[in-house]
Assembly symmetry: C2
Amino acid sequence: MITSISNPKIKDIIQLQKKSRLRNERGLFLVEGIRMAREIPANQMVQMYATADFYQKSRQQLPQEIRPELVSEQVFSAMSDTKTPQGVLAVVKQSEYQPETLMSAENAHLLVLDNLQDPGNLGTIFRTAEAAGVTGIIMSRDCVDIYNPKTVRSTMGAIFRQPFVYVESVPETIAQMKKHGITVYAAHLQGRQTYDKENYRAKTAFLIGNEGNGLRQEVAEAADVWIRIPMEGEAESLNAAVAAAVLMYEVNRQRRK
Amino acid sequence: MITSISNPKIKDIIQLQKKSRLRNERGLFLVEGIRMAREIPANQMVQMYATADFYQKSRQQLPQEIRPELVSEQVFSAMSDTKTPQGVLAVVKQSEYQPETLMSAENAHLLVLDNLQDPGNLGTIFRTAEAAGVTGIIMSRDCVDIYNPKTVRSTMGAIFRQPFVYVESVPETIAQMKKHGITVYAAHLQGRQTYDKENYRAKTAFLIGNEGNGLRQEVAEAADVWIRIPMEGEAESLNAAVAAAVLMYEVNRQRRK
């Protein structure tokens, strides 16, 4: 059992919790809690850590082939990103998808996130996207890190199943999407088309902008159509994850018909 | 200018930030930031506080009749719920609505929240509800406090405009809603009806449950119809604010037609 936070493995994990750059250099991220730990694909699992207490009570909930390394409660507290740790944490390999693969999906239903900043919003978008049947999520390089511990948690496991990729230039990606026959809709407060008057049965991508500022102009201008979600009262905008959900489920509704 | 956090007015505000019970006994709550401060209805404004710096730079953004009491930066930090305070905070009267009024709305579109616990979810639901044209929000007494500072912020001003009420018994409220000719739909993972196959042009209420546990059985059983939002992949549920948004915007879509 590891009982010292000076142990190099533990120091390493504490750094991986904090530093997005380190996670990306190493191609790793961290996953906490039994629910998420059970959903880790076997080929992405690197190492699992658990407290003796967790292991004794809950080992039968873990896949049989997993042998977690045991650590003391105090060490686990130092490793954990949460206030009330469950006592299980895994080091996991990052996924690797190519933009080309996402754009080639037969019945593409894509989200393009431009400079999205809130970790909870991003996680919620992943969670909703899986449920709505989104085939891929494309993010600008300056979006919040999907491997942020709060984001990982709020995906509720969708991070393991939802294909996604970061790209350097969103306008260039939009140009490529158009070559693949994808219609690109910008969710925009100045949109003229009400979102539910469009036909999303063909290949579709939605552009979703930053929480405070919306889409960057050069991104919005690259879209085929600007759409808006009608708002009553004095509401000025919707939460980004809510706006994305309304659009994704409109596609889902039309494609189920 | 108030320069001491021992000032009784300041001590009072610090208590109001922390204590839900005190806010409700006094019928008051706190609002921070210029954006929210500008939306406070005149008849609910009790007192505004600002830093000298804020007042000098931004007084023209406040309604003319408002004379904030000035406080030092240090005092403002102690009063504020945020890490990077903007320098303006108001004490505001709570709204008072009657359940009967909400249920009597001509084209009722109601949300009933049963034991919702996440402050951010509740705020986002208020924000979305205003935009979608919801006529009232009814909450079980054990929902998170709408006057929680984080919740107030995430309503983005909808708290001032969206009618809402807390009730002691949700099943009794459902019985009353039915007498008003309102059809009551439970959002439920075991729902047989897909949500978008129902007709929401007549008076409609949705029951939305706790984030982890869903609706309490006695609440779900009181509904007229159980509906579900279809989910693909291995998604087990949607975020409560997302599920509510999909339902509210389906009503909005049908009623716009």
